[in-house]
Amino acid sequence: MIRINLIGAILLFLLGLYGVMTNRNLVRMLLNLGVMESATYLFLIALGYRSNSTAPIFYEPTLVPGQTLVVDPITQALALTSIVIGVVTLAMALSIIVQIARHYRTLDVRHVRDLRD
């Protein structure tokens, strides 16, 4: 694994967390949540790196299974799964935000506090 990528992923995660905690706009909080998700993708892919290795896709002329060094493919599959789940979660969160904006007429998170109409 490459240390600088792991440290960068942790810093990116903390940046996103700071943005979620200090923003008042709901859409900006969602964007910072996306930044946190990107930090986890970077962390996952940087975990699976091996030295002097190439992409884990085998095709016959150049890459032979069993003789070529490849990186770990499991972390890449995990990152792809997380990206795809994040897309659907983002769509659902956006639809909820649209309903909140339609009901409360504001996107400020300090005014969206009531549990009844």
Binding site: Y59, P73, A77, A79, T81, A91, S95
Partner: protein, 158 residues
């Protein structure tokens, strides 16, 4: 003369997004669907597989909902999606049982052959990817549709 009826001031909100968003979504949805099918099909060679491709297909349908509002999602019947999910689960079970009846074991590879690196080199994984992608897409779509229905009104209709 009739007394003037006091009308409640109604806030008119538009359900659809602007024409630019709708046009872009309409031109992007076939590309996203084909990309989801590619991720499902080449799951044994490149990162991806059934679950990831199914969620990409659900992502395409959700972007359709975001552009057009809830009225277009009424075309999906909950009973059809429920039946499709059950068919997907039973197909997975039947493919596993084929291996059991062939005498080897449950979920054994009975489709041998194919060049390494080719499409048929995965054996039974190719068929299982299709089944899992179908089940994940219909199941997740069913759950999200119920959630959207609760968002529209107060409670889901029984």
């Amino acid at each position: 003369m009739q007394p003037r009826r006091i009308q409640k001031r109604q806030i008119e909100t538009r359900v659809e997004m602007t024409v630019m968003v709708r046009m872009i979504i309409r031109s992007l949805i076939p590309i996203i669907l084909v990309f989801g099918a590619y991720i499902i099909t080449y799951g044994h060679l490149t990162p991806g597989g059934g679950f990831q491709g199914g969620m990409i297909i659900v992502g395409a349908v959700m972007s359709f909902y975001l552009a057009y509002g809830y009225n277009i999602m009424r075309r999906f019947e909950e009973d059809d999606l429920d039946l499709s999910e059950h068919i997907g689960a039973l197909s997975y079970l039947l493919i596993g049982l084929i291996g059991l009846f062939a005498g080897v074991s449950f979920l054994s590879n009975i489709l041998r052959g194919g060049a390494p690196g080719g499409l048929l080199s995965g054996g039974i994984i190719l068929v299982l990817n299709f089944v899992v992608g179908f089940k994940v897409a219909t199941g997740t779509l069913l759950v999200l549709l119920i959630l959207l229905e609760v968002l529209q009104k107060g409670t889901p209709k029984q």
